[in-house]
Amino acid sequence: MILYATIEAAMYAAMRKAATTIPPDVEDALRKALAEETDPLARQHLEVSLENAASAAQGDGLVCGDTGFPLYFVTAGSGTVIEGGFGALWEAARSATARCTSDSLLRPTMVDPLTRTNPGDNVGTGMPKVELVFCGGGDGLEIIAAPKGGGSEIFGTFYRMLFPADGETGIKAFVLDCIRAGCYAGKICPPAIVGVGIGGTADLCMQLAKRAAVLRPVGSRNPQPRVAEMEQGLLAAARRLGIGPMGSRGINAVIGLHIETAFTHTAALPVAVNAQCLVGRRWTALVSADGGTRLSG
């Protein structure tokens, strides 16, 4: 049985690490982008961002001062047993988030949508968000903490119900428009990681897009050849829009374009886009059944 205290500590550790260190695959992609850009402003946007991340990793400041929405993506196995039951995951997430906020690792950013009241600890109705999925027969827990920045979530979220007659051409036209709309003037903080969901219901479609943007390694390819081909085609197109880092003149509006699909209604072709910003914050805590915890980027 995995103890509540172990889970809370793992969530805190993963969120702390995510707030202070960019994942290695994201950093590699940013360095690759820097090697490609020639416009002085485009280069400076990347150089400053990498310098900022380095200072955060050394204990001075944060990866980004907008620590955004506190998200936890949890994967359990069918053999996983948790002290207090699975509901304890939500209590652990609330506690870890409040501790991270009081330690100034997260900015108090979550407010009531109508009264705009800010409790000061990022804890309220529906927040932090915990998404639990089950995969395989294991007995451990994978916890990915992602403080998701406001820019990418606020300006980089799109959904539209397309129709079978719109086809792949329609998907490409829609996604390209979303990328242009999000990247113009640097709103989603490019170079962005763009997640695309195709199929499902509206909520499943957006969930696919969010997971594609936040969880997949940058530049990974969907195992379905037809989908992988669309990923590559859209990424190549995004690189020719003339938009670079933070909306400057350049190439790297997008450094990763990930598509996930789900079966949908025969009458429907839902498409969702969710962007992740250039710092791509996420960190994983793997908790084994004996209580051992290992962090990885």
């Binding site: 400041g61 900015r107 129709f163 490409k172 003339g242």
Partner: protein
């Protein structure tokens, strides 16, 4: 690093503001005050303003800093400029009301704010990359905080004494010009070829299930700027 960086003394004079060109790299030295959505809405809708001498403290920094209190002293952990375009509904009114010569933020603002800046002789400075840790080190002193109890640390107005704060680039000058508006024209010119090479036929449109009688509902579908 690119262009030479010029350090501007705050409050910015109209002459200094009028002399700046789009794309110029600058830092600022002097006193800035902070605010976000709540500042804008309250300033215009309720005439609630912090008790500041806006002639002297005239640089409005769009930001919600991450703050930490140690031994009663406020410390800045990180201070990342926030997206100013969110405030466009109120931006021009606030610029005129406070006669603002300097705005600092992320991205840019719209044409109404550009026109207001041209009127008062003010500029909009946009951040370079993700820079909140560097900017935190350039704050000499946290002078004061207003509305902390009502608005919390993120939306409160902080008054900061900064030195060689930046760099930023001039994204809107004091003559009504916008860096991103000009860049947008170049980007649009590249689009037809990109769409063509993706296999999107000229004039292609997504199926519109509302035909023409409810065209005003375009925004409901989630992509306001579609053709």
């Amino acid at each position: 690093m690119g262009k030479t960086v010029v350090d501007l003394q705050l409050p910015l004079s109209e002459e200094d503001a009028r002399g700046l060109k789009l794309g110029d790299m600058v830092t600022v030295t002097g006193i800035v005050f902070t605010g976000r959505s709540r500042f804008h809405i309250r300033a215009v809708e309720e005439s609630i303003l912090p008790p500041l001498d806006f002639e002297r403290i005239n640089c409005f920094f769009h930001v919600g800093p991450v703050m930490r209190q140690e031994d009663g002293q406020w410390q800045i952990v990180s201070i990342e400029p926030t997206s100013s375009i969110r405030f466009e509904r109120y931006g021009a009114d606030v610029v005129r009301k406070l006669n603002l010569r300097t705005l600092i933020g992320k991205t840019t603002m719209g044409l109404r704010t550009a026109a207001a800046l041209a009127e008062v002789g003010g500029v909009y400075l946009s951040k370079i990359g993700v820079c909140g840790n560097q900017l935190a080190r350039q704050v000499r002193e946290v002078r004061a905080v207003h509305f902390l109890d009502e608005l919390g640390k993120t939306e409160a107005t902080w008054v900061l004494d900064v030195e060689r704060f930046g760099p930023f680039f001039v994204a809107m000058d004091a003559h009504g010009n916008s860096y991103f508006e000009q860049l947008g024209a170049d980007i649009r010119s590249l689009l037809p070829e990109v769409r063509h090479d993706l296999g999107i036929p000229e004039g292609f449109k997504l199926t519109n299930v509302n035909a023409c009688e409810v065209q005003d509902l375009t925004h409901v579908r989630g992509l306001e700027n579609e053709r």
